[in-house]
Amino acid sequence: MTRVGLIGAGKMGISHYAILGAHPRVKVVAVCDSMSYVTSALRKHTGIETFKDFRKMIETAELDAVFVATPTASHFEAASHALERGLHVFVEKPLCLDPAQSARLAELARQKGKANQVGYHNRFIGTFQETRRLVRGGAIGDVYHLSGSAFGQVVIRPKSGMTWRTSKSEGGGCLHDYASHVVDLMNFVVGVPRDVVAAQLRRIYSKDVEDAVYATFRYADGASGHLETNWSDASHRKMSTTIVLHGTRGKIVTDRQECRVFLREGTEFESYRPGWTVRYITDLQAPVAFYLRGEEYSAQIDAFIDAVEHGTAEHENSFASASETDWIIDLIQKAGQERS
């Protein structure tokens, strides 16, 4: 049994808790949150041990691993402390606000040889995995341009600034929330860009943070990339993420549900033929033992627990890969500030 402690019992913390709670080889033994009304409700109704201070929890609860789901500004402190105490660590995305801190965490995790994972769940979605496989296998030739986008309704009116998500110093804003997912997905599929050519951080309703992010990337092989994210788009029921890849021999358009592949005349790849081939999530996603809100949320936790059990620090969504994402986020931030 892996004994897990939870640091942060907000939306993502509770979601992780439920999935971990159903995992046959995990015992959630303690929860820590600075807001007492959530932890005391959990203690009262589930009997779980609760803490206000994560140090105290790590000291006393005999944990093997922690899940850090606090506002981003506090990730470094909690994750580095847990790693120093020899625990395996899962951290919600993005890893840190300062990419130098992310790099330090990645190095610390490697030294300690502990499982270290960040919650970029798109990497566990079958359609995106297939897209990466096709691109890396050369199915659409050389990729010369890609675009990644995410739209949804987080902030859709002026008076929304009531949580940490709308506070820049805590790690709020569309850049760290929505855009980080898209940056990470683009990195997953084609690799990390060489630089950020231009970026705009746009406020629509928020006072302290941006609501939309537009950025242009350049890759080492000469390819270009475009990112467009907007969390103030009420036409989307929930966050919807899409990636489009243009290659010399075809094109791929993928979202959570569909992987649509166009191959030019004379191009074939495995069972993919010229023209359009559409493959659906029903065909590309492996089932999970417990489903809460998408297979990917369960699959990423299964992968982390596997890494804990095997005692490996090398796996998907490691701190090292998340720190590359943080580096690009930081470049977007800087490029966006120069313009405004």
Partner: protein, 286 residues
């Protein structure tokens, strides 16, 4: 329970297979009248139950049914609550406490000071009752013989081990509305075990049940065995796996399962409604 129930995903831009289809459907059903036209066709074809998420616009449909008892004498709603994205979006926007204040009925919470609201959140049973009553207001004076908990909440409670909320919900729904509780889940075998352990025998449940095993956590065999042993009154949803299985093949497979009670399906056109209903009746003679 009726054997054939009408679902609502097609009306509200929910499509698990394609965002484009979802958007097209959201455009097609942008007003309540366009939804009502399809519901009328289903009703005229003898499908009396509308199993629906508690979106605000479902309240407008309830208003129409309530206002026309002569036109809809047998129309029944199976409300499925809550519409979780509404709460999730709000929690992301304004936090947990403000979300509860925002959605609690009749200004009950608006007048409360923050401390009092957080005291209510400690009592999850009281909180559940307040939120359920808020969702049920839309359905005053229409028939709601079964009231469901949406899968994201059922499965969240299941994962957190808050098992006592299930019987508490069932008792509240029975006591206050004379309705039976139902539970939607993506983890049917695990749920039925827990419900039984809490004294809810032969519960009404609704889950994905389809030939390819799409979102049937616990595995097709466990589902099959659960139905065969008649440990629950089951409604199959997502029988076409969002279109991944051809209609005839999908229906024949699901109708061949021993111990299944009902099928819920959604459709946007008269032709689709009639075709699906005919396929079910053919494959599943009474």
């Amino acid at each position: 329970m009726d054997r054939i129930l009408f679902g609502d995903n097609q009306f509200f831009g929910v499509n698990h297979m394609s965002e484009e289809k979802a958007r097209a459907q959201a455009m097609q059903f942008k007003d309540t009248a366009s939804i009502m036209r399809v519901l009328d066709i289903a009703y005229e074809n003898g499908i009396r139950v509308f199993m629906c998420t508690t979106y605000d616009r479902v309240g407008e449909i309830a208003d129409i049914v309530r206002a026309n008892p002569g036109r809809y004498p047998d129309f029944q709603f199976y409300p499925c609550m809550p519409y979780a994205h509404k709460y999730a979006n709000s929690v992301g926007e304004v936090g947990i406490i403000e979300t509860i204040r925002r959605f609690a009925p009749g200004g009950l919470m608006e007048t409360m000071i923050k401390g009092a609201v957080s005291a209510v959140t400690q009592d999850i049973y009281k909180l559940m009752e307040i939120l359920v009553d808020s969702e049920m207001k839309r359905f005053a004076d229409v028939k709601t013989p079964v009231v469901f908990v949406q899968n994201v909440v059922t499965d969240l409670l299941l994962g957190l081990g808050l098992d006592d909320v299930f019987p508490a919900f069932a008792h509240h729904i029975q006591r206050k509305y004379g309705s039976e509780a139902g539970f939607i889940t993506m983890n049917l075998p695990r749920l039925v075990d827990v419900l039984e352990s809490k004294g809810l025998r032969n519960p009404i449940v609704c889950a994905n049940i389809n030939k390819i095993g799409f979102r049937m956590s616990g595995g097709v065999d466990a589902y099959r065995e659960l139905l065969r042993a008649r440990r629950c009154r089951a409604i199959a949803m997502s029988v076409f796996a969002s279109g991944a299985i051809p209609p005839k093949e999908a229906i024949e497979w699901v109708c061949g399962l021993a111990g299944l009670d009902s099928i819920v399906f959604g459709a946007s056109s008269a032709a689709n409604i009639r075709q699906t209903k005919a396929l079910i009746e053919q494959a599943w003679p009474t």
